[in-house]
Every structure is written in C-alpha cells, then in structure tokens.
C-alpha cells in the first residue's frame, strides 16, 4: 500500500510537471514552430492572462469565464503586437527575439507603474482530496486535464480545420501558399494571436495558484524555453514528448532534492540533451521517419 501511495504521489508530481511544461510552452511553441520566431514577451502574455483573469473573477465573473477573458485579451494584444512590431521583422528571427525582449521589459515595468507591485489574487478553488497518506490539490488535476485538452485542441485546430491546412501549407512552402492565394500575413497574424492567447490561457489557469505580480512571467519563461529547445519546431512530435521527458526529470529531481534542484536539473538535462540532439526531439523523430 505504501508503495502504491508513493507511486501515485510520483505520478501526480509527473502530471503536475508535465502540465506546467506543456502549458508554459505551448504558446511559445506554436509561434516558433509556425513562424520560426521566439517571442521573449511570452511571459508577459502569461502575466496579462493572469491579471485579466484575476480582475474579472474578483469583479464577479465565474473563474472559467475569467480565464477565457484572460486568454482573449492576451490574444488580442498579441495580434496588435504582431501588427505593430513582429510583422516588420519577418525574415529576421534574431532581431525579432531582441525586439520582443524590449516589449517584455516595457510591459513588465509598465504593469508595475499602472497596477502596482502586486495584486490580491483569487484562492485556489476545488479544495483537495486524499489518497492513502497524501493529500492532493484537485485544481492541479484540473490543470493536468487542461494541458491534455490544449494539446488535443491544437491537434484538431491544425489538422481538421481550414485554418490549420492553410497554416501548415504556409509553414512548409510560404511562397507556394501565397501563389495559391493564401494571405500568409493573415495566417502569421492569427498564429501569433493564437500563441498569445494560449499564453494568456496558461496565465489564467495558473492565476489561482500564484501570487499575482508583474514579474510572474519569469516563473514560466525558463521552463517554456527549455521545453521548446528540447522539443524542436513541432508541437506534437516535439513539445509534448519533451514536456513528458522533462516533466519526468523534474519530478524525479524535485522529489529527491526539492523544487529548486528540479528546476536547475531541468536546465542541465537540456544542455546535455542538445549536445546529442541539436535539432531537438522532433528533429530526431522526423529524421527517423524521413
């Protein structure tokens, strides 16, 4: 029984780490996979989602609707940013990353000026459940389900909708897609918007579990980076398996040495992995299939 107990405890921790990595990375990965662009303001979109979620929830909206609002607002801001900045930097991925860093800095500090150094949050809903000798947060299980839901949703969006087909055509052969009458600029703008909305969703989902501060994006950004680096450019063949592997690394290290070593061990694991797999897990899978 004790064995079963700790097995479930480990599984819970793995699921928790997996969910965090998937949710932290999915928005970044969609944008990177489709556009080859790393959005360094990713953390600030997460922050934005969290702020909107908390504000609307405190104003009386039910939490799920608050989260939706956070996601939509982040997505809308993402599309505006794409129009104002990103669009002018296509073909210059290195400059894009630098420019989005400037956006990130301005957004964090701007939020600090406008909304102060912290904001009262909303409590974690749903309470907890006990299994064996451990007690678990029910909301964390909801987050795990949400991570799976996001993956499933993205799969459907890219494989079963017209937008998905156009988007995949645009990544693979941009000029061909253009010749076929696809407005690639619109596709890019939408993609960036979706990435931002996913970040906002993540912020909204984690808002009840965190302190709401302007710098909260940093909590996610390192995990998002390493997941995308290990995963490579494909969200399904890369991000999801990478999150699983890294989630396992982090869960093992966390239960062995604590939270911090979980995070740092993650980074060390990543640096070791890239030495062997420069194009990430999706590169490996794609090479095997090619």
């Amino acid at each position: 029984m004790a064995l079963l107990d700790s097995a479930f405890a480990f599984l819970y921790q793995l699921g928790d780490a997996f969910a965090f990595l998937v949710l932290a990375a999915c928005g970044l990965a969609v944008v990177f996979g489709m556009m080859g662009v790393i959005n360094l303001a990713h953390g600030e979109f997460i922050m934005c989602g969290a702020y909107v979620t908390v504000a609307t929830t405190r104003a009386g909206l039910p939490l799920p609707l608050g989260i939706l609002a956070g996601s939509l607002v982040a997505g809308a801001i993402g599309m505006v940013l794409e129009r104002l900045v990103i669009r002018h930097l296509y073909g210059r991925p290195l400059d894009t990353i630098v420019a989005t860093w400037g956006v990130s800095l301005a957004a964090t500090q701007g939020t600090l000026i406008l909304l102060g150094s912290s904001m009262p949050g909303v409590g974690t809903p749903l309470g907890s459940f006990t299994l064996g000798s451990y007690s678990y947060s029910t909301y964390r299980v909801v987050l795990m389900l949400a991570a799976l839901g996001v993956l499933a949703g993205l799969y459907l969006a890219f494989n079963a909708t017209r937008f998905g087909t156009l988007a995949r055509a645009t990544i693979q052969v941009p000029h061909m897609a253009e010749a076929l009458g696809v407005d690639t600029r619109k596709v890019y703008a939408l993609t960036f918007g979706i990435g931002a909305a996913l970040a906002g969703l993540t912020g909204g989902l984690y808002a009840p579990t965190m302190t709401i501060v302007p710098t909260m994006g940093t909590t996610f950004i390192m995990e998002a980076f390493v997941t995308v680096v290990v995963g490579g450019a494909d969200i399904f063949l890369g991000t999801a398996p990478a999150a699983l592997v890294l989630g396992a690394v982090r869960a093992v290290l966390t239960s062995w040495q604590g939270q911090l070593f979980g995070q740092i061990g993650l980074l060390v694991a990543v640096i070791l992995v890239i030495r062997v797999l420069p194009r990430g897990i999706s590169g490996l899978i794609l090479r095997e299939r090619a």
């Binding site: 990177f32 080859g36 662009v37 790393i38 360094l40 953390g43 900045v85 002018h88 930097l89 210059r92 991925p93 290195l94 400059d95 990353i97 630098v98 420019a99 860093w101 400037g102 956006v103 990130s104 800095l105 301005a106 957004a107 964090t108 500090q109 701007g110 600090l112 000026i113 710098t215 940093t218 950004i221 390192m222 980076f225 390493v226 995308v228 680096v229 911090l260 995070q263 740092i264 980074l267 990543v270 640096i271 070791l272 890239i274 030495r275 062997v276 420069p278």
Partner: protein, 349 residues
Amino acid sequence: MRRLLRRLEGPQTLGRGPAFWAAFAIVLALAIAYPSFADGYTVGNTAYFFCWVFMALGLCLIWGYGGALSFGQTAFFGLSGYAYGVLTLNVGAAYGFTIAAVVLAVALAAGFAALLGYFLFFGRIGGVFLGIITLSVTLALERFMAQTAGPDWRIGAARLNGYNGMSGMPPLTVPWFDGDIVLFPDVALYYGLLGLLVVTYLGLRILVNARFGNVLVAIRENPERAEMLGYDVRRYQLGAFVIGSALAGLSGTLYTAWGQYITPSSMGLTAAALPVIWVAVGGRSDVTATLVGTLAVLGGFQALTIYGSQYALVVMGLLLVVVVLAAPEGLVVALMRGIARLTRKAAAR
C-alpha cells in the same frame, strides 16, 4: 609589435586615420582631466558606468562580431561578482589580494563559459536557441542565488544571503610601498578603470582586426563557407564566447568592488536585457559604437531614473524595439557612417 599596432585599424572597426586618432586622443585627454573639474560623487558615478562597459564590449564581440546571440552574459557577471565576494570576505584585502581575487573570479567566469560554450557550440546550437539557453542559464542562477537565505548557505566566512545578496566585501586595494592604496569609488578607482578600459578597447580593436576577427566575422556572414575554408567554426565561436564572458565577469567583479555588494537580481531577466540594449542601441557590429552607445545609454538611463527606475526601464524597452525596427545597425554606427560620408564628400570637393 608594429604588426599588432597596425591591427588597431582595419575592416572590422569604424574609425581610421589621423582624424580618428586625434579625436581619440582628445577624448582620452578630456577623460583624464575630467576628475579635476568634477566633484568626487560624479567621478565615482562615471567609474560606475565604466564598470559595465566591459560586459557590453564582450557582448559586442560575441554577438556583433561572432553573430552568436548570448543573452545570458549576466550569468558570468553575477558568478564572477559572487566569486569576488566569497574570496575577499574569506581572505581579506591585504597584500593586494583583491587584485588576485579579480583575476580568479574572472578565470572562474571564463572557465564556466568554456564549459557551457563547449556544450552549446560543439552541439552546434545556434540562432535563437543559443539566445534562449544562455538566458535560461542566467535565470536559473538567479533563482539559485535567491534561495540561499539562511545561515546554512555560506562559503567559509561569506554568507550568500539569498535575495538580499552579499555585501561588505572590501573594495579594490593596490599594495604600495608606504601602505595600500584603496580604490574607493572616486578618483582613484576612476583612473584605474579608465586605464583598464582603454587597454581593453584597444586590445579588442587589435583582436577583431587580426586573423581571429577575420574568421569571426566570416562565421557571422556564412558559417558553412567559413568551415569550407578550413576553419573549425566551433573553436572560434567558443573562443569569442569565452573572451566575451570573461569581460562580463570582469564587469561583475568591478561592480561588486565598486558598490561592495552583489545581489541575485543582477542575473535576472531585467538585468540581462540591459547589456543587449546598450549593445544594440550603440551598434553591435563595432567596438567603438558599443563603447560610446553603452556610456550614452547608461547616462540617459540614470537621468531617467529620477522619475523612478520603472519609467526608465519602460523607455529602455521601447528604445530597444524602436532601434531594432528603425536602425538595426545601431544609432552610433549610423551616426559614424554618416560623419564618414560627409567628410569624404567634403574631401572630394
């Protein structure tokens, strides 16, 4: 020796000929005379600016010349700063040990850069991935240092002190015949740093115009072709990364010695953005532009912090966006090219 001096100007650096070096001499003379017509606080503050320039020059070498995005230079800055603190808090400042501590701390930063760089460059990590991994490294270091509160986290006599950071280390002290000269952050430190800065600047000019610099820009322009000219691209990139990171480490020790403190936030996301801003705004592809740009942006930043540092940071962030969009080569480079064009026109007339 004469061959080295000839490398002071060349295709990789803006500014050449008697006019440029005359201007250089005038600026240097002004810098030397500066403490005699400024008060001690202002001079110490200028010394503070100088502390940062080494990191900017290092990033210029890695990013501007080598084409490798390193967003985590603050990792080496912080590591080296902490190392200086740990060494001097344990050993003290006697017999010029602070100087030895600077050397050791910089060597530690260089060693760490060599290890990390080995995995990155020999793993053929490039482009955006290099940027986000190095950034992740500095964020991880910040997180690590931030949780070292409590009496358990100590190295010898040095308490790491978590988020509040380490303080109370001795300033730089030069042993002299009739007693040590302590370089408090005023005139003495100013001259020490000015000398170091001039040597570093000229040394980098020689380096980037030498064969090493030729290969470095070749790799930036077309790594495949550079390899097919028989150059081991990985070694050159690693070399630039180690030198640039050692300079970041030098900044870290000087900063720590200047203010006698170092905190984890010196390795955080905001701190990591600043060198990128200095170098991008000045012009990453040229050491002179980086030097001038860094000092100008630091000065402007400080002037803005009168209204609060968050306002200054918003302006810095927006400045970075605008520069990338409107003048990707950098403001100082654009200006210097403009001047060169005008003088050429004037000469032609």
